[in-house]
Amino acid sequence: MRYVDEFRDQDLARGLAAAIAAAVEPDREYRLMEFCGGHTHAVFRHGIPDLMPSNLRFLHGPGCPVCVLPMARLDQAIRLALEHPVTLCTYGDLLRVPATGGQTLFKAKAAGADVRLIYSTQDALALARRDPDRQVVFLAIGFETTTPPTAVAIETARAEGLANFSVLCNHVLTPPALRAILASQDSGGLRIDGILGPSHVSTLIGSEAYRFVPDEFGLPIVIAGFEPLDVMHATLMLVDQINRGPVRVDNQYRRAVTASGNAKALALMAEVFTRRAAFEWRGLGVLPDSALAIAEPYADFDAERCFAVRVAPGREVKGCDCASVLRGVKTPTDCRLFGRVCTPDNPLGACMVSSEGACAAYWSYGRFRGAGATGQVA
């Protein structure tokens, strides 16, 4: 596949590994946070840590929209599906995520709720068109990348007069989250030396959206693609910024990301959505201006207004360190539940479910490196 295979080339990887090894200063620690779960996933899937010098470490950030969805919002969606005669559709990522009491959308489905996996918002529209007597609710989650497709669906529903379509909106914004992480560094026992900036989010909002990272926090940031060479290349660029400055926003992923982003998509988002004053992020708490709600002119398509579903505070599983893992303060293996009672077969926290979750990545790809697992190859 063009633009994929080239960026997974083993020879180039060897070269970049050598360059990183040569570039790092031996007595310095490099603690790089990949904001995105996509980076976390790439790092583990391709075994990148094996190619890094020992004084360079990746910290895993909160950049997985599944992982940061607060339990109460998922409880709300599950209750909606169970208590109202609706078809609730959403992306596959959410179906297994544990809500309060271990409930999941999948279990709700097994218990009789009409829950459907869709691949695209177009599928949600198709469901609503096919059965006009049935309320179809799209449970929307995602960062800026996934938001414009939701906007298109809402726009389309209004244009077509699809009265039985609505959206339960949980779209959140990455810059406020990154800002919160950086602001918490001192108090949170976290030290970050540089940021691997969002890849696909940046195709939408542009690399300039992260100017606050160098400007306000004095930290280097490199927007990086999700292929393994992209990660390694951006790592090299970060090491270089850290070593030599000046701190700035670099863009490694120039083939898809511009400084200002996708104007058409941004305009549509601005039309359909409005910012929530505050929204809870799992692990990060309530962050101001960090999420989107459906704008007033589209209120008819807002499931939160169409259906009365109470939202009690979610009950997190005792002992689950997701919140710390999401802030990069702890690694999954620091969690006492990791691998002993929490596994992908029996996930207790969202980070163990999402393919982009740090715990899932550690378990699936990196467990044999972890504490307690000796698994030496004979």
Binding site: A18, G63, T121, Q122, T145, V152, V201
Partner: protein, 83 residues
């Protein structure tokens, strides 16, 4: 997050709002509602059935060239033991 993958536009519908893309031997219908001025032959980044942005061939070349250069600069003999 945000699983997205490069694919090449091989046909655009008459209304200009949707297209067929090809990747690695498979074809898929996608919406063009979020991008402008796409033409057949363009590579786009595909996410949840939508083209999110075009991929610049020149920038891709340039990035690869930079990677090659970085690697060449540090030659193989000095390859570190990564573990």
């Amino acid at each position: 997050m945000c699983l997205a993958i490069p694919a090449q536009i091989i046909a655009i519908e008459a209304d200009g709002r949707s297209a067929t893309v090809a990747l690695g031997g498979i074809h898929k219908a996608v919406s063009l509602a979020l991008i402008e001025d796409a033409v057949v032959g363009d590579y786009v980044l595909l996410h949840v059935g939508y083209a999110l942005s075009k991929i610049s061939a020149e920038e891709a070349e340039r990035t690869l060239a930079l990677m090659v250069e970085a690697g060449l600069f540090e030659t193989a003999p000095a390859a570190p033991d990564a573990r």
